[in-house]
Each structure stands twice: as structure tokens, then as C-alpha cells.
């Protein structure tokens, strides 16, 4: 069986600047891929291309076999995507917003209500279900974005910094949630928090200046008594000139 996420030589250029340079990888069911790299390394750009938001300059991305460029609606149906910064409509209530995304995804009636309720339960949002999103704290907003991505129980999850802005307890909850879902899904998370990779990921990719530098299980990176942080620093600071 083909992998749920297949990326082949994905490239994005902005003018003369190459943000993502021939990135290839695939993610199978049951894998949690940690996407690491310094700011501006191309993490979000890669995720945007994978989610079908940004058209790649070259290369292909497939979700459950559907090409995101040729067959976008089909690909997006199998995808739960948390964009960078967890954008939501600020004037909507939490349940109104989730009901909106559920409607677009084709759920109706009691099934829709159930899906919304379950997504709110998974992300501990029941207490604020009728509050306008703009009145919520950063951690709650992030979880609303996460709930939106989980709502349709997609086989593929792409989460751009899912735990950014959460307090330690909430981080723990989200990691537990990702771990629980992991066996049945292919999950990609980008993060700056290296301990998170150890905690939830079965595999780590380090990307710098648009290129994949390392693709290995986190344990394999920590051999010879080096911490993941030391590995990360030595790999991404390899050249003195830092990527913008």
C-alpha cells in the first residue's frame, strides 16, 4: 500500500530565492513525523504546499494517493490542516466556527452536532463553546484550530506548531491526543520544541535552507551521548551564513 503522504522533489522559489529545494519524503500510517528546522527554513512553506494552499514551483505532493495540485478537493477531504498561527474567524463562537467547517466537509444534522461535540471534547473546549473566539486566550485559539483539523477524523494530519502558546498542562494534553491518534493516521507536526519530538514523534526530519538534512528516528539522532539540541545546532548552524 502506498504511503498516505507522498512528497516528491517539492520545490518552491520566490523570485531568485529558493525557499524549499527538492524536498522528498513519505509518511505511512502510524508514523508521527516531527518537522524541525530554524525559522525561515521552509517548514511552513512545505506544509502549505502539502495542504494545497501554495502551488509548488516543481514537484508533487499526494495525500492518500490524490495529487494536491490536480485533484485538490479529493486530497483536502483526507486532510486535517492546522495552518501556521491557527487562524480562525474571530467574531464566530467556538461551536459556530466548528459547525461551519463541519458543514463544508459535508456533515449534517445530528452527525454534524456529534462531530463538533467530539472535537470540542478532544481539545477541552466545551467550557467556552459559545464564546466568540476573539475573546479567548492564545492557548484556546490554538485548540480551536486543532479541533477544526480533527473534526472529520482525517487519515492525514498536518499540524503547524500545534502546541505553540499552550501552557505545560495543555501541551501535555495535546501530545497525549496526538499519541492516541497516531496508530491510525499519518501525522506531520512542525515544532521548535525539541523535547516534543522525543515525546511524540516516531521520526524526525531536520530541514535547513530549504533542504532536508536529516531524516531519522529521534533515538538514532541521539547516539554518542549527544542531545537532540546539540545535533540540531550542529546541523543547522553548519555554515556561518544563516538563512533568512
Amino acid at each position: 500500500m502506498a504511503a498516505l503522504i507522498e512528497i516528491e522533489k517539492l520545490t518552491k522559489r520566490f523570485g531568485s530565492f529558493t525557499a524549499v529545494d527538492e524536498v522528498s519524503f513519505s509518511v505511512d500510517r502510524g508514523e508521527v513525523l516531527g518537522f524541525l528546522g530554524p525559522n525561515g527554513a521552509g517548514k511552513s512553506t512545505t506544509m502549505r504546499m502539502l495542504a494545497g494552499f501554495m502551488p509548488p514551483t516543481a514537484g508533487t505532493a499526494r495525500i492518500c494517493g490524490a495529487d494536491v495540485a490536480d485533484n485538490p478537493v479529493e486530497a483536502k477531504r483526507s486532510l486535517g490542516f492546522l495552518p501556521e498561527g491557527a487562524p480562525t474567524y474571530p467574531e464566530m463562537s467556538v461551536s459556530g466556527f466548528l459547525a461551519f467547517t463541519a458543514s463544508i466537509r459535508g456533515f449534517r444534522g445530528s452527525e454534524k452536532a456529534d462531530r463538533v461535540a467530539l472535537a470540542m471534547a478532544q481539545t477541552q473546549l466545551e467550557g467556552v463553546r459559545l464564546q466568540p473566539i476573539e475573546t479567548l486566550s492564545k492557548g484556546f485559539k490554538r485548540r480551536v484550530g486543532l479541533a477544526q483539523a480533527l473534526l472529520h477524523d482525517p487519515p492525514v494530519l498536518v499540524l503547524d506548531e500545534p502546541t505553540d502558546g499552550l501552557d505545560p498542562n495543555q501541551k501535555h494534553e495535546v501530545r497525549e491526543l496526538i499519541r492516541r491518534m497516531a496508530p491510525t493516521k499519518a501525522i506531520v507536526i512542525s515544532t521548535h520544541i525539541l523535547e516534543e519530538v522525543d515525546a511524540v514523534c516516531t521520526r524526525a526530519i531536520i530541514i535547513a535552507r530549504g533542504k532536508v538534512i536529516v531524516d531519522a528516528p529521534p533515538r538514532a539522532l541521539e547516539v554518542e551521548g549527544r542531545s537532540l539540541e546539540q545535533v540540531f545546532r550542529s546541523l543547522t548552524l553548519g555554515t556561518p551564513k544563516e538563512a533568512a
Binding site: L79, P83, E84, Y89, S93, F100, I104, P132
Partner: protein, 269 residues
């Protein structure tokens, strides 16, 4: 008070989204997007400011410059003659935030990664703005009641006049939406949309056509043919022709197509 009202609106919007009538139409995603968008207008002061200013200006112009009473005729001609010019400024104010707001909140990334064809998102946003203009127009009903109390107007003509107003609003909205997709800057979106709409509004005016017919007679005819105001004139006299409907339909369709293309090119900028 404001907060309570807002809460009520949110509740209504949430309820509407949960249990609203949902036929199995192929354009269902567009309707869902449109419904959310329309609810969003009323969740912010935009809707109220727009409607109040529109009603005040429409009323004031009709009764002062339009000479509603002095004319001694029971019709809404003075009102209809001002509506396209009011829309010229008010509609771009409505559309300038259409895509800019989505960009500012980053929700464009969310909306366009949901499983719906991009044209449905474009159509949904347009439909919401159009429905909103329809609501604003509908709220001018006291004028209609007034002429019916004062005399015996031809209500058929009044109805076609309203249809014409709605089509003019649709035409300007489509232009404004396309411009809004092209630029992040709301001021630029507003000014450009007014300018483009003005070209189409004024193309049939005597100043332009006389100028053109003296120099380039062929262009004068083309300008008249493209003029929104000229097409609208028929509606205010109670005449709906297929040509005019095709004109408005293709005008709106063209600009929505431009909107979708521009959006596709610039969405990630």
C-alpha cells in the same frame, strides 16, 4: 448591551449554520460560505454603519435633490436615479475588506484548504455581499409605502426598478471583489474599485459619448453598450429586456472569473 446583542447574533448564526435548510445542491459549499460571511457582517458594526448611511443618504437625496414632492408624481424615479451613484461609493467600501480581511486573519489559508472548489469560495463571498445589498435595498420600503399612500404608482415599475438596483449592486460588487483579491491594501482596493466602477457607470453619460462620437464614433457606441447606467435606465422605466439581463449576468460572471483567477495567483502572497 452591545455585547448581549452580539451574543444573540452569534447564537443565531450558530443555529443557522447547525440547522439551516440544506438541500443537496452542487453549490452547497458556496451557500455555507455565504451564510457564514453574511452572519459575519452583522457581527461587526460594518453592517449597521453601511445600512444606516445608505438609508440616510438615499432618503435625503430623494427628498431634496430628487424633488420627491415637487415633482407631483407618485413614483420612485428620484430614488432610483441616485441609487447607482450611492452604490458607486458604498459597494467598494463593502468589498474592500472581502479578501483583505481573510488575509489579515490568515483565515484565507483555512478557507482554501477546506475541501471546496475555489470558485465556490469566490461565489459564496459574492453572494453574501449581494444578499447584504439586497437587505439594505429592502429596508428602503418606507419610500414604497409612502408613494402608495400618496398616490397610485405603478408597482410593477417600482419592482423592476428594485431589480435593476440589485443588478447594479451585483455588478459593482463583482468588480470590487476582484480588485480586493488583487491587493492586500484596503485603501487601494477601495480607490481602484470606485475608479473601475465609475468608468462603467459613466461610460454612457452624455459627456463621454459626445466626446467620443466627435472623435471616434465607433467607440461611442461601444461605450454606451458597456455602460451600467444605460442598462439600469431600462429597469427604472419598467422594462426588463433579455439583453440587459445577459449584460449584467455576463458582467458579474466575468468579474467573478477574474476574482477566481487573481485569487489563485495571489492567495499565498
Amino acid at each position: 448591551m452591545g455585547g448581549m446583542f452580539r451574543r444573540l447574533c452569534d447564537l443565531l448564526a450558530a443555529g443557522w449554520l447547525m440547522w439551516g435548510p440544506q438541500a443537496g445542491l452542487p453549490c452547497r459549499p458556496a451557500l455555507i460560505v455565504g451564510r457564514r460571511e453574511l452572519a459575519a457582517y452583522f457581527a461587526t458594526p460594518v453592517a449597521y454603519v453601511f445600512i444606516v448611511i445608505f438609508l440616510v443618504l438615499a432618503g435625503a437625496l430623494t427628498f431634496t435633490l430628487g424633488g420627491f414632492f415637487a415633482r407631483g408624481q407618485a413614483d420612485l424615479m428620484p430614488f432610483f436615479s441616485f441609487v447607482p451613484w450611492l452604490f458607486l461609493f458604498l459597494v467598494p467600501a463593502l468589498t474592500m475588506r472581502l479578501w483583505a480581511e481573510e488575509r489579515r486573519h490568515g483565515t484565507i489559508e483555512l478557507l482554501l484548504t477546506l475541501p471546496l472548489p475555489q470558485w465556490q469560495a469566490v461565489a459564496g463571498k459574492f453572494l453574501a455581499a449581494w444578499a447584504f445589498c439586497g437587505i439594505a435595498l429592502g429596508l428602503t420600503f418606507p419610500l414604497w409605502i409612502t408613494v402608495n399612500v400618496l398616490g397610485n404608482p405603478d408597482n410593477g415599475v417600482i419592482l423592476t426598478g428594485y431589480v435593476g438596483c440589485l443588478l447594479v449592486a451585483g455588478a459593482y460588487l463583482a468588480v470590487g471583489a476582484a480588485v480586493s483579491a488583487a491587493t492586500k491594501n484596503q485603501v487601494i482596493a477601495f480607490v481602484l474599485a470606485v475608479a473601475i466602477c465609475f468608468v462603467f457607470a459613466a461610460a454612457g453619460s452624455p459627456v463621454i459619448t459626445e466626446f467620443l462620437s466627435n472623435r471616434m464614433p465607433a467607440l461611442a457606441e461601444a461605450a454606451r453598450g458597456l455602460s451600467v447606467a444605460d442598462r439600469f435606465g431600462g429597469f427604472t422605466r419598467g422594462v426588463i429586456t433579455l439583453r440587459d439581463l445577459v449584460y449584467f449576468g455576463s458582467f458579474i460572471g466575468f468579474w467573478l472569473f477574474v476574482n477566481a483567477v487573481v485569487l489563485d495567483l495571489k492567495k499565498a502572497d
